[in-house]
Amino acid sequence: MKRFSATAAVLLLATGLAGAARAQEAPAEKAPTVEEVVAKTNLAAYYQGQDGRAKVSMSIVDGQGRERTREFTILRRDEPGPEGSDQDAYAGNQKFYIYFQRPADVNKMVFLVWKQAAADQDDDRWLYLPALDLVKRIAGSEKRTSFVGSDFFYEDVSGRHTSEDIHELVETTDNYYVLNNVPRDPDSVEFANYKMWIHKASFLPIKIEYYGKGGEKIREYNALGVETIQGHPTVTRASMKDYRTGSTTTMSYRDVVYDIGLPDDIFSERYLRKPPRAQLR
């Protein structure tokens, strides 16, 4: 099971979740191993329900205090695992449909992602430009690139493969499992390590601190608000601060729903050209 991912739980937090409920059923007296914490966190952060929808509002405030906003609706669908697989079969491939409303110059633009769970396989991404009626395929092997100009990286949003880091449980407090994570390939990332505070009951990452190669803090994620939606604890407000630029992005989520029965064909060219109104509403 190398298909897990444990890092900043962001967008997908809102639209994912299933593991938390299962996690809470685990016997409380037995301390989980670091692998279990990582796996359950990955599920809680990115795989709640089998599909979901959220409306996202993003505020990017740069070091000079100037604010830019983004508004989009995100649809997510987890692909079922192979026949006869275990209950975590849904922690595999995922598809995302992101429909932009604001700012005005990206209105009606659509970003489609087929997330590949295999660590060695790039995600498939398409961008639909409505004024040109153009379905453009995006080359992107670089995952630590800003997501839509925000302080969140593409990888924060889609999930970082857990196999790319060495995880260590450094502390267990009343509320948190505290993990330190070191990349296996330090040259592939801008950080030296990152520290995660994972809420014990929900397995949601509440805070993540990224440290640079000189030991300085470079980025920090905070879950600012959690709501339990259809039984799934869901982060409904989160921030990412970049200490190098002084910029902070805050995301808030609205109208989060799970298990709405999204058909697979929503995530195809047909619905790039014709947005699925019923599902986006």
Binding site: A28, K55, S57, S59, V61, D62, E67, R68, T69, E71, Q101, R102, P103, A104, D105, D122, A131, L132, D133, L134, V135, R137, I138, A139, S141, E142, R144, T145, S146, V148, G149, S150, T173, D174, N175, W197, H199, A201, I206, K207, N222, A223, L224, G225, V226, T228, P233, T236, R237, S239, S247, T248, T250, R254, S268, E269, R270, K274, R277, A278
Partner: protein
């Protein structure tokens, strides 16, 4: 103080300090989890809830929770969006046949859309003020005048497996990047060359598009009842090579055309079969219509014509290495060319395109393309040249390079696109810098640089049209 008590006290203090230190780095539970703390757990120490030292202050927009998210404005039963765009451009060299200003216009685009579950209606139109090239009367076909209707279309889903799009619309397919083989929908080369936004490269079609979807294959058919030509280079704004005059020409020799314009007989049909296999997108295309830009001449009138053309092609696109590769080909059957011996009609061609795009580094993308136009029946073409005509090569090779760099949180975009033909010995460069000032305002500057050894090659003929432009835009 007795040593034992001292040690106890010290231990207590140290222990307490240690605990404080540990908790100091620990995040407070966010709203929604605090109350959910298990009842068996000891109560959280005071200070944990209220501790906010490591949190950034809430950005202002979060305080506007009640702000309307929906784009539907108050009192408007439909979505409304648009922009105002002011743009000016000038030639960098004198052109004896054209104005010095290549572009000078203010444009307001408004788009209204109303949607239901199985249907939607959209109208999108540009309103222009152009003091440099004031064309007066409106021509919806060429976009001249103060009104350029971009879209006026209804979309319905009559059955679950099909969509129908009816009316004035923009249609795009194929895999090329600013090169087109099987996309036979109208292009606006004039807008493209003078520095309007790239969206204006695609001109609207007045058509019906029917799409049917199945697990095996998807079918799109676009029927245009009356031929929609490109908005081609006619000399009114950009100088070009006029073969009859044997020199560059412009406003002194605006291209006169005979356009097929009988409804339901001078029609066009374009079709595509497509299927995604794994991560690879496969498609086959057919087109039955006319050359989209003038490609022939009527000897009786001396006017340029749009001879009949059929195109058959295929494409594949998908991941290769760390990038995206595409391959597309098409056979251009110039139906009136009679084996290549008709000098008044452009010969048929085989066209081929191979491209590769990859991300070189974060926010830095590069794309490469090779494009080939291989003339069919070349010997017949050479045997039937018009007197004084500059013969084309049998093969026209074009290489393109795209570089895109995003800086300052992707608000500043440096873009460079280059067409270079080693066989024609000409090139066309498109540098552009754009900056998003805030959520509404953006600005850009750019250029269109043409150069060639000869006056009669495709890009070489536009050498005197080389221009620079600047624009500001406010989107609402």
């Amino acid at each position: 103080m007795k040593p034992a008590i001292f040690f106890l006290l010290a231990a207590a203090l140290l222990g307490g300090a240690g605990t404080e230190a540990a908790r100091g780095g620990e995040p407070p539970l966010p709203a929604g989890l605090g109350g959910a703390a298990d009842s068996e757990e000891p109560a959280l120490p005071p200070g944990l809830f209220g501790e906010t030292e490591s949190e950034p202050p809430l950005p202002s927009s979060l305080e506007r929770e009640t702000e309307e998210w929906n784009r539907e404005g108050p009192g408007l039963p439909f979505d409304l969006a648009g922009f105002a765009d002011a743009r000016a451009g000038a030639r960098t060299q004198r052109d004896p046949y054209e104005k010095e200003l290549s572009l000078g216009e203010v444009r307001l685009q408004l788009e209204a859309e109303k949607g239901w579950d199985r249907a939607s209606f959209r109208v999108r139109s540009d309103f222009l003020y152009d003091p440099v090239y004031d064309h007066g009367t409106v021509d919806l076909e060429t976009g001249r005048g103060w009104l350029d209707l971009r879209e006026l279309r209804g979309t319905i889903t009559p059955v679950s497996f099909a969509d129908v799009r009816l009316g004035r619309q923009i249609v795009t397919w194929g895999t090329g990047d600013l090169l087109f083989i099987n996309d036979m929908f109208p292009k606006d080369w004039q807008s493209f060359f003078i520095g309007r936004d790239t969206e204006y490269l695609k001109a609207p079609s007045d058509a019906a598009m029917v799409s049917a979807f199945s697990p095996l294959v998807n079918l799109d058919v676009v029927y245009t009842p009356c031929f929609d030509a490109d908005r081609y280079i006619d000399g009114s704004r950009l100088s070009y090579f006029n073969p009859a005059l044997g020199r560059l020409a412009g406003r002194d020799a605006v291209v006169q055309v005979e356009r097929p314009q009988t409804w339901f007989s001078d029609d066009e049909t374009a079709a595509r079969l497509s299927r995604t296999v794994g991560e690879y997108e496969l498609a086959a295309y057919g087109y039955w219509g006319y050359w989209k830009s003038p490609a022939g001449m009527d000897p009786a009138t001396g006017k340029s014509t749009f001879p009949p053309l059929s195109v058959y092609g295929a494409s594949i696109r998908g991941p290769l290495g760390s990038g995206i590769a595409n391959l597309e080909g098409g056979w251009y059957d110039s139906r009136d060319d009679a084996g290549g011996s008709n000098p008044l009609v452009r010969n048929g061609e085989l066209r081929l395109l191979a491209g590769y795009e990859l991300e070189l580094a974060a926010d830095f993308n590069a794309g490469f393309q090779y494009y080939l136009e291989h003339m069919l029946n070349y010997d017949a073409y050479r045997d039937h040249l018009m007197p004084g005509e500059h013969p084309r090569d049998e093969a026209r090779h074009v290489l393109t390079l795209r570089l895109t760099r995003r800086l300052l949180s992707q608000n500043l975009v440096l873009s460079f696109f280059c067409y270079w033909s080693p066989s024609d010995e000409d090139f066309y460069l498109r540098p552009n810098v754009s900056y998003r000032i805030d959520d509404h305002w953006s600005a850009e500057v750019g250029g269109n640089v043409f150069w060639g050894v000869y006056d009669w090659t495709f890009f070489g003929q536009f050498r005197n049209d080389t221009n620079v432009y600047a624009a500001v835009r406010c989107s609402i």
